[in-house]
Amino acid sequence: MIRGAVLLAALVSMVWSPAARTIVVAHDGRIEAFDAAGEKRLWSVDGVASPSAGVASRDGKTIAILDGFNDRVAVVSVADGAAVTHETPGTPVAAAFFGRDVWVVVRDRSRAVRITPDGQQTEVALALDPALIAVSHRFVYVYSRISGLLQEIDPQSMRVTRTAAAGTAGSGFEVELPKPGDRHGAIGFLSRPAYGKLVVIDLEPMDVRERNGGAPADPGAAPSVTVDDARFAWDAKSGRPVKVKG
């Protein structure tokens, strides 16, 4: 399962890279890496002023930290903390990696911006209020909240190829890739907690079905990451991630 970026309430962003077994924390203008126990600081570099979200690449080698207030995204090597900061043409609210490119959703401009490793930016126009992003092996999917549309983008042609109505006010979107032997393709899951609904989208035919339930919402939960079934949250006092209950 590939997760899109999750918006965080505090000025702290945490990302877990399973491949590198590293917890990356952006806080107070710094980006720092810790081991899986949260005890050993691996590196610490200058970051962004107001981190608002973060996401790891599929291979776990790179992370992107968004600064929604200041319209910036920092792309950081998990191995050594080498970071490059890019300005975005509006408020970056979510991001996902497609290969080595980072795709950033820019809400004010109703755009997705692809940033290549050499820093080139290419924009794709989207529906109003793009908010969530996830990728399959072939496509990038962006969900626009107020219009309730899920749009499929072909990264080769940089065009929106298909659009599906998925319902408004979604707050979480994930794409589950097919496992070997599965008869279905990639499946998208969109939670609409305000309506108590979970929307399941079979992405190959773009078939949308809705069922009751939706993701349980925990408003105001502190930023955290899950490492081997344990939840870690940032502890400003000790300056490291600490294991928390629940």
Binding site: L11, S52, F69, A194, P219, G220
Partner: protein, 520 residues
Amino acid sequence: MRVVRQARALCRYPARVPRDARDDRPGTRALVVAAVFLALAARAQTRIASDVEIRQMEEEARRAAGFDARVSARVNLGELRAERNESAAAQREFETALQLARDERNAARGDRDLARYAIACAWSGIALARLGRGAEAFAVLEEAVRDSGDTPGVWNLYSVAMFRLGKQEKAIGAARISVAAAERKTAAQATVRDLLELNMDRFALAQGLLDAGEDEGAQLLRTIAESLESGAFQPLRKALERREEFQIVTAPRTESGMYLALFNRSHMRLGQLYENEGLVEQARREYQAVVNRRSDEPAALAALARLASDAKERDRYLIESLDANPFAAGVVTDYEDHVASGDASPAAEDDSEGSRVRLAIQQIHRLEFRRARETLKPLLDAHPNNDVLQSLLERATLRSEDLPRPRFLDKPADLVTDPTESELLAVLSLFAGNAIAAEDRATLDRAKFSSEAAFDAADGGLFEQGTMRGVPFRFQQPARFRGVAPAARRLRIVYRILGATAADGRDALLIEPLRAEESR
């Protein structure tokens, strides 16, 4: 409709605002958010709230039932304090609003009530933005829209907060979303309240677009103005005329309050727009529409003063504007320019704060600083934290550092002929502020000065006081000059400067006359 200033017309918030009948979300009460208004970016002062009105609003805030009513009351109070240039008091109100919103957030989180939680987060964002805590405001507003992303009111608050923080593009982006959400809500069927909220969202978007130089903003304003004149609002307009309601607040909660605020601010903004484009008649029509509905709207009156072609008309509008809000910095500046032009009618000292401020400005212009300070004193006693009054007081205090150092202090001469106004004022300020250095004092003791002096009427043939280049002076003691007729008023005098004194309530140079002759 002519409006009389009276406290009884304060907004009264309903204990419970109507539920959104078409909300289909399970397990939550309908989202009801009072949209918050953007204040106009420039020359936006509204009628000053009197102390009585402020106290009534504070009482309302204390009595208010429910979070929405209490937090919006505190934000309104904060904005009113800010309009009165009482920044410290405004900050306290916004801090109170923030605390209320935090408590509500915690309670809603405990109840797992997403709708309440979103509203509380949005109000936190407003309070944080007004406290200048931008990044925190952004974070909490993102929290607000995360799970309630199709609620127009939450996006409206988001837009207002970003506007306050100077994040123009974010403000426009959020406003576009709020308009889209409100249009969706009103597409099939709309109540009067729905339409008012849609227009408020449109106004926020128009404001942002106009500030960004986008023409689309003007069209939106015209759409709002047309909508307000439509049949949908006819019953509300009639009700407003019957009630003579006029209070305009930042976060209106009643339908009449929303209508009034919308009417006022959309016409004001259109007026500004036309004025900036040099379309004087169109601008005047918009400002006049505001004054017709509310005769004591200071920003509209000040605008009409700016557009007046006749000096008397300008004088009248400025007087009315300052009577409505004597602490509006922009209008005070306009009035200072008006006084400097020589067209201002004499201000009388009476009980109104507006007339006192006008009098103080005129006294400062005449360099009657001591009198100006006396005029300002009761105002400062009543409004000790008012920034505009503090600024006027500062200007009514002679300060030597504001003036260039007189050349004769650095290059002493036996006789200094015709010292300039600036030099005389600088010496006066050094003495009046007890800031004169011993060596400068010694230089002045040695120097003689020669100036043209205009004397007040001599008393029994004795000359005592007058002005030199407009700077007041007074003799150490009344003097008679040989060969000078008692009726003479303009003399060339040779004198020494002794210090500072007062002459008819004005700071004045204390001088010792050495000789005098009638000017030719």
